[in-house]
């Protein structure tokens, strides 16, 4: 039967090996895949300002982006494709609560500039190659 020291070797050895592989794969993804798949060349300072706004208002506390976040409000990865920029801008700058289907969004009333920054962020997000996410609804008539 397995002895305690063999069990310890299994634990330590397994950890070191898988962790080394993990670091290698991560390195590969971050240095090769990310610049290409996310089109880093389009990551302008306006997009970065948009990301700041996205975070400082915790939009992820209701919505998802890349499928990450909360499940109270729609997935926004492809929102510009779906709705178009003018629609999104109207929602972001509205001072009255936007409440489609009765579910309220916080009325941020963003300035024109801030709304443009967020739209730049969404546009960049929408261009990221996500290996097929979100899926096409294949049962749609």
């Amino acid at each position: 039967m397995l002895s305690k020291s063999q069990a310890r070797t299994f634990f330590l050895g397994g950890t070191v090996i898988t962790f080394a592989i993990f670091l290698g794969l991560s390195w590969n993804s971050l240095s090769n895949a990310v610049p290409k798949q996310t089109h880093e060349e389009n990551l302008t300072s306006q997009v970065v300002r948009g990301k700041h706004l996205w975070e400082s208002n915790n939009c992820m506390g209701c919505h998802t982006i890349f499928g990450e976040g909360a499940y109270y409000a729609p997935e926004l990865t492809k929102v510009i494709d779906r709705r178009g920029a003018p629609f999104v801008k109207a929602v972001l700058t509205s001072k009255a609560p936007w409440a489609p289907n009765g579910r309220k969004m916080v009325a941020y009333g963003f300035s024109d500039n801030d709304a443009e920054d967020l739209i730049a962020f969404f546009t960049w997000i929408g261009g990221v190659d996500l290996n097929g996410f979100p899926p096409k609804p294949d049962l749609k008539q």
Partner: protein, 443 residues
């Protein structure tokens, strides 16, 4: 209880219970909002309630882990805690930082990254706090007479958990990079180092409750934490499928994360086998229930319900839906909520000297909370599967689908009420135990 300083644990457990009570309140706020009753929207919008709910969860679990360590390490190392006063200061500052963060969330002051919402300045305070905690634990361990496998695994888990907090504090301009490293914290915590902490506490409890030889228990502990890391580290890939990195992760993440349930299966089999094998039957039945319960429910919630959506072909459709919330609830509850409840149930009689080993209240608390949480899991699951089908397969708009599934949140709230009744009974018993006393010291 052999060492006077173990009493510190009581206050960490008390903080833990208090924060859990608050967490549940914010859970109800969200449950009602999903059902269409968002009357608090102006004061506590959904994103505030959510940040509070999940952050309180993490802090009450961590406070429970810290209490467990303050109880277990002196006993295993055979040494009083090196500095009791510092431990109390650490407790109070932990509570203050937590409260400050929670208040901030009500005033749009946060970082807005799921689970890591704590604003940057408070992050630094968290780091200092945790370093103090680790300093105390490590000094106690290394000045002690013994360094058992149980205490080493527990300590290793705590140290790694602290280290893994750091990647979450790096700022990235690129959302993909941001997400990539957020998972080093979130995933490598719950499916990696926290399992070491859980395994360490579980081993300690099994040694005490079943009386099986330490060597046997600790051997299996190594096997379990070995399985955890071998599957869990590369299993991080199941969060990299659809965030803008290469497809290598679809294969690596798919295969290794599908093996993650083995560690939880190992824990369940191990706990049940040790219970059967043990000759000594400890009279603390409540602690036994929670100990076996955590091993089994974590296998269901984390292992099986994790497996249910971990393959890339499935995850493409379920990613970021209520299916995730279904799994998140039973996994967190079974693995980390219940292990904290188990260590509290075991230590309270030892610290206070009152032997409420086998009460009806304790039994009812166990069953009501577990049945309630299972019901909540089913409610989230049904809502989630319906959402995936209608939204991702049929292509109906998000808002219309949400209206369609509102009714499941009524069921959720009913089950949550059952759950809360169980928790209330547990807390009632916690209070009934009273405070720790020196009279409870034994050699």
């Amino acid at each position: 209880m052999k060492y006077k300083s173990q009493q510190v644990a009581y206050w960490f457990f008390a903080l833990s219970m208090l924060l859990l009570a608050l967490q549940i309140i914010y859970g109800f706020i969200m449950g009602f909002a999903h059902m269409g009753y968002d009357g608090l929207h102006e004061v506590i919008p959904f994103n505030t309630a959510r940040a509070v709910h999940t952050n309180l969860l993490v802090v009450w679990i961590l406070s429970g882990f810290m209490g467990a360590a303050y109880y277990i390490i002196p006993e295993e190392a055979e040494n009083e805690l090196v500095n009791v006063k510092l431990a109390y200061i650490q407790l109070i500052t932990l509570a203050l930082v937590g409260v400050a963060a929670i208040i901030g969330y009500h005033f749009n002051y946060w970082e807005g990254r799921k689970f890591l919402e704590i604003p940057r300045p408070l992050d630094y305070l968290v780091v200092i706090n945790v370093l103090t905690f680790l300093g105390l634990i490590l000094a106690t361990l290394f000045k002690g007479k013994k360094r058992t496998t149980t205490s080493l695994v527990l300590t290793m888990g705590l140290v790694f958990a602290a280290l893994l907090y750091l990647p979450g504090m790096i700022w990235f301009d690129n959302q993909t990079m941001d997400s990539f490293f957020r998972w080093w914290v979130v995933h490598l915590w719950v499916e990696g180092v926290w399992e070491l902490i859980m395994g360490g506490i579980l081993a300690f409890l099994l040694i005490k409750i079943t009386g099986v030889d330490r060597e046997v228990i600790e051997k299996w502990l190594y096997v379990i934490v070995g399985l955890t890391f071998i599957s869990g580290i590369l299993g991080t890939g199941h969060h990299y499928y659809y965030i803008g990195v290469d497809k290598t992760w679809l294969i690596v993440g798919g295969i290794f994360s599908a093996m993650e349930p083995l560690a939880f299966l190992g824990m369940a089999l191990f706990a049940v086998a040790m219970y059967r094998k043990g000759e000594k039957k400890h009279p603390n039945k409540t602690a036994l229930n929670w100990t076996l319960g955590t091993a089994i429910v974590s296998f269901v919630g984390a292992g099986l319900l994790g497996l249910a959506h971990t393959l890339p072909q499935v995850n493409l459709y379920t990613h970021g839906t209520l299916v995730t919330a279904m799994h998140g609830h039973l996994a967190f509850w079974g693995a980390y909520g219940m292990i904290v409840f188990a260590i509290i149930a075991y230590t309270m009689p030892n610290m206070t000297g009152r032997k409420l080993y086998n009460t009806n209240t304790g039994l009812l608390a166990f069953w009501l909370s577990n049945i309630g949480m299972l019901g909540m899991t089913v409610a989230f699951g049904v809502a989630g599967v319906a959402q995936v089908y209608l939204e991702r397969k049929v292509g109906i708009e998000f808002g219309l689908v949400q209206k369609e599934i509102q009714v499941h949140f009524f069921i959720l709230i009913c089950c949550a009420t059952l759950f809360t009744t169980g928790i209330t009974l547990y807390m009632y018993e916690f209070i009934k135990y009273g405070r720790p006393t020196n009279e409870a010291l034994v050699d």
